[in-house]
């Protein structure tokens, strides 16, 4: 693997015209990955998801350089539920940007890799991403600008994808008092790839980011998302994760509440079947006074599926008056399903309000009887109860248009 990695690393760098400084950084990152390799279950953060084992058993020959030319955009993947701006990634390359609803002077786009500010020594996967990314997009929303329409980032993979590993990175800067509604939508037709996506968000004073990540189409890919979120004074980060389609996902959110009155909301649904395996891992760092975080994760597991939620709330000594909350509820619908919940509270301040809760169980037989006695089939009754169970996480979505879109996607009608 390492040999192929080094060959591909050189090929990638030959194809890019990078500054010597960037190149040096990439080499450092490559070495960091080479030293550690893919994370395995001996690492505390990976004990429920042995990525090394998952990659080894699903991907035969690892390769890292995708030298295919761009593919035509299949417009049928575009959603028609509401008007939106678009950025389309196909096999990790930017195939289209459409910001026609916006004042283009207010949005600065950069694709120059020399501008990539690599997140340092987070973990080997972020290092791998830093070392190998072919394309990168950085978007800066100027001060006090609120986008007129949501932005959808389409993450498309196709059968043309040559490499088995794909890295890409998105960076979004929200300047003071600006706002953005962002939807990331996966659409995969490549098979058995490892897709490593790093996203970095800087949310400045009074800015609001609503970030909805949707992975609903069934596919055999293995995905790792690393989301880093920095929050300044009085800014808001609202996140919703709909984790359903891929074979494996680990979605990691590292959220730094750096200044007073900033708040972070992480709500999500994990809905799995067959032998799917999804994890949501959060680190919420309260570094300043009067900061707030709220997390609600609902999981529904069928067949042999495995769901994991590791939620950590860290409260620094300075972060008095912190309000931190997390709740995880799981429905295990089959004897062979597995759910692992690991709540962690690490608190160094004394005047804080923090709580967590975790439940798991099956559907209530009496409720099924009640619904069936009204003429619903067993299947219909279960679906109604499952959707009802998931609904309160969906109800946390504050954007009505997107909430309805996700409700439609789940088959909940009104």
């Amino acid at each position: 693997m390492i040999e192929q990695l080094k060959i591909d690393f050189d090929k990638i760098n030959e194809s890019l015209k990078l500054s010597s400084k960037s190149l040096e950084l990439r080499k450092q990152n490559l070495n960091q990955f080479v030293e550690n390799g893919f994370p395995n279950k001996r690492l505390e953060d990976w004990k429920f998801s042995d990525l090394n084992q998952i990659i080894t058993s699903n991907i035969k020959n690892l390769s890292f350089y995708n030298n295919t030319t761009q593919t035509e955009i299949d417009e049928s993947i575009f959603i028609k539920n509401f008007k939106h701006n678009k950025i389309v990634f196909i096999n990790g390359e930017i195939s289209g940007v459409d910001l026609s609803y916006e004042d283009e002077a207010k949005i600065i786009l950069t694709k120059d890799l020399d501008h990539n500010q690599s997140l340092k020594e987070v973990n080997p996967l972020v290092s791998l991403n830093n070392a190998l990314i072919l394309t990168y997009i950085k978007m800066t929303i100027k001060e006090s600008y609120s986008l007129n329409k949501p932005l959808i980032i389409y993450n498309v993979t196709t059968k043309d994808l040559k490499s088995t590993v794909l890295n890409f990175k998105i960076e979004i800067i929200l300047e003071k008092n600006s706002s953005l509604k962002l939807v990331s939508l996966s659409s995969d037709s490549s098979e058995d790839n490892f897709i490593n996506i790093v996203q970095n968000f800087n949310i400045e004073k009074d800015a609001v980011l609503k970030n909805y990540q949707i992975d609903n189409k069934q596919n055999s890919n293995i995905k790792y998302f690393y989301n880093n979120i920095n929050l300044e004074k009085n800014s808001v980060s609202e996140n919703f994760i709909f984790s359903m389609g891929s074979k494996f996902i680990k979605n990691e959110i590292n959220c730094n509440l750096n200044e007073q009155y900033s708040s972070a909301f992480i709500n999500g649904i994990i809905k799995l079947k067959d032998s799917q395996h999804h994890e949501i891992k959060t680190n919420i760092n309260h570094f300043a006074e009067n900061t707030k975080s709220h997390q609600l994760i609902k999981s529904v597991l069928n067949d042999k599926a495995k769901g994991i939620y590791q939620g950590k709330i860290y409260v620094d000594t300075k972060a008095q008056k912190t309000n931190g909350y997390q709740l995880s509820k799981a429905l295990l619908l089959d004897d062979k399903t597995e759910f692992n919940g690991k709540p962690e509270l690490e608190i160094y301040a004394d005047d804080v309000k923090c709580s967590h809760g975790s439940t798991s169980g099956n559907l209530d037989e009496d409720s099924i009887f009640y619904l069936m006695s009204r003429g619903l089939s067993n299947q219909q009754s279960k679906e109604l109860l499952i959707n009802g169970f998931l609904l309160d996480a969906v109800e946390k979505i504050t954007d009505l248009e997107i909430k309805n879109f996700i409700r439609d996607m789940m088959g909940i009608t009104e």
Partner: protein
């Protein structure tokens, strides 16, 4: 309409119904009274198909063997159980549930399903008749409903689904006198030559409002005495002790 012969039911190896016989003809209202633990709720559960019981005996419903039918098939063929303790179903909107239920039954009967507008018209009219606040219907099913609202909701469902055989399991329990009147009026409005009722109750009070054609006394899993509506009054005065 319903003919029960030698019905036995046990749960966790404990026999609850010990050879029960009962016949209900179209248009009749039967009341079953009995002390705690006599098997009243087991009877209603067994008739509506709840799992977990070992059942034997013969139950003919509209010339079919009722015990062979699944829970939802019984509902499709016109059996309705008003629950003693209606369940709270979080995240399920009451209106959506009612429409899903009505259309599931209509579909099974090969009848035209109602669209949203037709349904709302029907539900508004029924809610008005039962003096049921329509706003409640946009809330989650039974979640946070008062005891009275839950019972009224059962009767509303009954009146929308228009069943042939309605089983009311202690519908009067937990109701104040005003709610009891409204619920009784709702039941009386559904009485017809084609529809029958089996009313299960502890107390005679409900039977002041819904006048039964027959009253049966259930003690220790068997019907020990049957009579007309006057039997309810007699029980009220003398208690069950006199019969056991």
């Amino acid at each position: 309409m319903l003919e029960i012969k030698n019905l036995k039911a046990e749960i966790n190896k404990k026999e609850i119904l010990k050879g029960l016989n009962l016949e209900i003809k179209p248009g009749e209202v039967h009341a079953i009274m009995g002390p705690n633990g006599s098997g009243k709720s087991t009877l209603s559960n067994v008739l509506s198909g709840k799992k977990g019981y070992d059942v034997s005996g013969d139950v003919k419903y509209l010339n079919e063997n009722l015990l062979d039918l699944e829970i939802e098939e019984r509902a499709h063929k016109g059996i309705f159980l008003a629950f003693q303790y209606p369940l709270e179903i979080p995240g399920v909107n009451t209106n959506i549930f009612l429409k899903t239920s009505l259309n599931a039954i209509k579909k099974a009967k090969n009848e035209k399903q109602l669209d949203a507008i037709e349904f709302l018209k029907l539900v508004k009219q029924k809610a008005l008749e039962l003096k049921f606040d329509e706003k409640i219907l946009s809330r989650q099913l039974n979640v946070g409903f008062s005891g009275g609202e839950k019972k009224k909701n059962e009767i509303l469902q009954m009146s929308i689904l228009n069943p042939k055989l309605s089983i009311l399991d202690e519908t009067d329990s937990g109701l104040d006198i005003d709610a009891l009147k409204i619920v009784s009026e709702g039941v009386n409005a559904l009485r017809s030559k084609e529809s029958s009722f089996l009313i299960i109750t502890h107390y005679q009070r409900l039977l002041d409002y819904i006048k039964p054609d027959f009253v049966h006394v259930l003690i220790d899993g068997q019907i020990v005495k049957s009579g007309g509506s006057e039997l309810a009054l007699e029980l009220e005065n003398k208690g069950y002790e006199s019969l056991s």
